[in-house]
């Protein structure tokens, strides 16, 4: 599915909002995937719920792909998921490109205290000044990066 898909987007967005609301009102925790992922190492006393959340995150995508197949990538009837490959003109191998992107994402979200979920959904909803700044910066920089690399 190449084109704009507003209905699945809205439905998915509502599910993501509901997931965030449940963790906040139930457990008093922000759904910030980079934070949940980035604090998996001991001595985090909160490791049990973090692991459960992340396993459920994977299962949620997998099970839904069987219940509602063929929305796009993933699951039976869906196209195979593919990571973005580097623009051929750069002459960089895919593993190196993907490793650099992963390192920057892990390092940046750690020192910046959040990613698209923690800052983007929860921080904006809390009207956090820091999250407004972070979201403005990482969206702008990502758009500039895509424009410069011509990866699309």
């Amino acid at each position: 599915m190449d084109a704009f898909s507003p209905i699945p987007a809205l439905a998915g967005g509502l599910l993501i909002g509901l997931a965030s609301a449940i963790l906040w009102l139930g457990n008093g925790r922000i759904v910030g995937i980079s934070g949940i992922f980035g604090q998996l190492l001991p001595p985090a006393r909160t490791i049990v719920w973090r692991v459960i959340f992340l396993v459920a995150l994977v299962l949620g995508a997998l099970v839904t792909a069987y219940i509602i197949p063929g929305l796009g990538v993933g699951g039976p009837g869906g196209e195979p998921a593919q990571l973005a490959l580097p623009p051929p003109s750069l002459g960089i191998g895919a593993p190196v490109w993907i490793a650099i992107a992963g390192l920057l994402t892990g390092f940046g979200t750690k020192i910046g205290n959040g990613c698209t979920s923690g800052h983007g959904v929860c921080g904006i909803a809390r009207l956090s000044k820091r999250s407004f700044a972070a979201v403005g910066i990482f969206f702008s920089v990502a758009i500039i990066t895509v424009t410069i690399t011509g990866i699309v």
């Binding site: 994977v58 839904t64 892990g106 940046g108 909803a125």
Partner: protein, 157 residues
């Protein structure tokens, strides 16, 4: 026993994670190409731009906005003693530099941490490289920002 190890707390975490993963699949934000087609604003003049991501994040924010307002009227969450609201307030250098570096990584890959982990369900080529790099980067970041709650608060409060 710590409240964080009781069944209702853990089931809440499982339900939240499951719905979040379902939302990422339904919205197709698990597809790096779809995210990149949103970030590629150069396609706007030619009509090839895909605004879907905005249609995902805005309703998510609206639902969470209502939840935050409901939470402000509750003394505590249902299954714990405190709302863990982030205490940092100041826009400091680690926040800005971190957002810039994450923006570069996101623009290179089209995947942020949530989709990266949910993609385990669909296992694209090279995904383990991204996940290991994500973990190593995150671990390295912990050595750069001031460690310890008090020290971090002194910088960013």
């Amino acid at each position: 026993m710590s409240r964080a190890l009781r069944l209702p707390y853990l089931l809440t975490a499982a339900l939240s994670g499951f719905l979040f993963g379902a939302g990422l699949y339904v919205s197709q934000m698990v597809d790096p190409q779809k995210v990149l087609r949103f970030l590629d604003v150069t396609a706007i003049p030619t009509g090839g731009w895909d605004p879907s991501l905005a249609f995902v994040i805005v309703p998510a924010i609206v639902v969470m906005f209502v939840a935050v307002r409901i939470g402000r009227r509750q003394p505590e969450p249902l299954f714990d003693t405190d709302f863990n609201e982030p205490e940092f307030k100041r826009i400091d250098a680690p926040l800005v530099v971190g957002a810039v570096l994450f923006g570069i990584g996101w623009g290179m890959s089209g995947i942020c941490p949530g989709p990266a982990i949910s993609l385990i369900a669909f296992w694209p080529d090279h995904l383990p490289i991204f996940l290991i790099a994500l973990f190593v980067g995150s671990y390295a970041g912990a050595f750069v920002i001031p460690s310890g709650r008090e020290e971090r608060l002194a910088v960013a409060r």
